[in-house]
Amino acid sequence: MSDEMINVLYFAWMREHTGTASEQIALPDGAQTVGDLMPTLMARSAGHALALKNMAAVRVAINRSHGGLKTPVAAGDEIAFFPPVTGG
């Protein structure tokens, strides 16, 4: 494990499943994209695994811009996971 950290946010029902709105995690060794984070995140709890198991139903933002599993990540990034939006 590197000790470079990223900040991970969860919203709406994903926040309820993971039990947290925000957590700091170490950037996994060799992780270059959002997709590379998934095994680490899903291993954190049964709730995390449930929240993240169907990524087709999940949206991702990197540093407050919409992205996806292939978006690059780096230390210090803010990665947010949330359901499709329902405002307006």
Binding site: F11, A12, A61, S65, V85, T86, G87, G88
Partner: protein, 149 residues
């Protein structure tokens, strides 16, 4: 300020007046409200959660895209967050231009993109039950029609 995310209600008349000006001939406004009746459904309230920081950035980006497409004179977006009762106002998009087509198109464009891109999530209350609202396919379709042109 053109983009506001707030708990407080807003005044449609004051927002419309604020967009008037010598070159303005048309103001198009959209107000979204909390529907309590839909089919056999009865919603008493809803709570709007959002992603502070990203919300304002996304709405500003949508505004910039609308301004690049149409000759707009003024744009105001107000989106409420927190707990709202049935019948309350949720969102206002208001656009002023010299002519009506630009104002109508830009207001509709901004609402369509706000619905798919701005990070808000609604949880509806039915009695003591709280449930997250699912995204509607029709909102994705409305978004898609602007990129297919």
């Amino acid at each position: 300020m053109a983009v506001r995310v707030q708990q407080d209600d807003f005044d449609v008349g004051a927002e419309s007046r604020a967009l008037q000006g010598p070159a303005v001939g048309a103001i198009a406004l959209f107000v979204g409200t909390v529907r309590s009746l839909s089919e056999d459904d009865s919603v008493t309230a809803m709570t709007l959660e959002h992603y502070p920081g990203m919300t304002e950035a996304e709405i500003s980006r949508i505004e910039d895209e609308a301004r690049a497409r149409w000759p707009l004179l003024g744009v105001t977006v107000v989106h409420r967050v927190g707990r709202l009762l049935a019948g309350e106002q949720i969102v206002l998009v208001a656009v002023s231009s010299a002519h009506r087509q630009a104002a109508f198109d830009a207001a509709q464009y901004m609402m369509d993109f706000l619905k798919t891109d701005a990070p808000f999530w609604k949880a509806e209350e039915r009695g003591d039950q709280l449930s997250w609202v699912e995204a509607r396919q029709s909102d994705n379709d409305a978004h898609a029609k602007w990129t297919q042109e």
